[in-house]
Symmetry: C2
Subunit: 264 residues, 2 copies
Amino acid sequence: MPENSLQRLRVILLGSGNVATNLGEALKEADAEIVQVYSRNKANAKVLAKKLKAKVLTDITKIDKRPALIIIAVKDDAIPALVKKMKVTEGIVVHTSGSVSMDVLKKFEQYGVFYPLQTFSKNRKKEFSIVPICIEGSDISTLHSLMNVAETLSDCVYNLDSKQRQAAHLAAVFANNFTNHIYAIAEDLLNEQKLPFDLIRPLIDETAVKVMELSPAEAQTGPAVRKDTKVMNAQIALLKKHPELKKLYNEMSAGIIKRSRKKK
Amino acid sequence: MPENSLQRLRVILLGSGNVATNLGEALKEADAEIVQVYSRNKANAKVLAKKLKAKVLTDITKIDKRPALIIIAVKDDAIPALVKKMKVTEGIVVHTSGSVSMDVLKKFEQYGVFYPLQTFSKNRKKEFSIVPICIEGSDISTLHSLMNVAETLSDCVYNLDSKQRQAAHLAAVFANNFTNHIYAIAEDLLNEQKLPFDLIRPLIDETAVKVMELSPAEAQTGPAVRKDTKVMNAQIALLKKHPELKKLYNEMSAGIIKRSRKKK
């Protein structure tokens, strides 16, 4: 059996969203057997089960009883209710959430967390080998099992405790959700002057590419880090109709100036 | 002469920073003749002049008098003083700034703006054909000349008036400077838990890649757009030692919620 094969692994997948789909496909490609796929949405479960050559599970109490890795990849707030309905089975039960405590699974014998720190879309397949996977296990043996699965899928596996995982998730909300919101604000500012978002797409790309090698501190440019108050004041004046953006502009600029002082 | 050649163009480059270097190299590659390179910093001017097979200009009053495209690519606040010292010459004088008005050049006969909307580094050569160039001209004939130069270098040329260019520059500050600052905040949050920035580099990359095709509104994910107050409250609690970040978290979340309502 090749090193990067999970041929002996039986997986039961609870969920049929973006994470379940991408993770299920990566496991399947690594030769794991996907036994069952469960979802509240039967149509979705069917589509994913077909893709993964798995059976559709419609009744959560009827999970296959033979030992398996059971992956709960549903929305955060749906986890507790789902866990409550699940019978205690052999094998390891994990969830894939960045923010939910591992303890939600403590009724099981072996449990843990398998959190892929990436943003997924169903129709954009991710190269899983570069997806960071954060794992946590209820005991050493569970941790080792999860480590083995994670390392087969990805070159970036991190063993994080719950506190670290929460910090990673918080950082991810800044780096993904808030960054995307900044893009949206920039789009609004362009549209006000009848300019297309295309105008700054290359800049957005380069901004991200730069920090693939540099640290954000090294990559920081612009009027704030130069303390160019003339440009900053002119830009704040442009935002006079947008008090919230004016406030945001001031706070971000103050943050950049403060951080650049610290670094010296 | 091939269509994408500037063989007959004589260029005088004032400045030796990131913009001057990248623009000079792109012009040289399109066969323009770089006649002189001027910089306050003589060593820098020498390095760039050598690269571009140009002469070093040390005295700004001694600009070559034959018709040329004179490109002022110095810091925004250094433009007025430099212009004051320049003698009125034949040809077109442009600056490369996103925020400075075109009028700063009105003592010349033909003038304009040649603003490449990208973040440059001296040692990271940019593919210029995908750099958006925003141009403005003092009259139709000047505009056409600049359009011709810009279209030879890039596939994305925009004719913007000063008001539009200011909006584009403001959007660029959000999309580049503020986004990079968000990356820095995320790095701080990781470092506090002894986690490396590498953990979220793939996420940062994917966040940018997603909006190359989707609009930011379509790409928005996370607790705020889901109105998942449980996760949001837990994350705000994590920021109790950072009142400024707590404030930022609340403002960004409120902005995301507000914007998602508007879109419906």
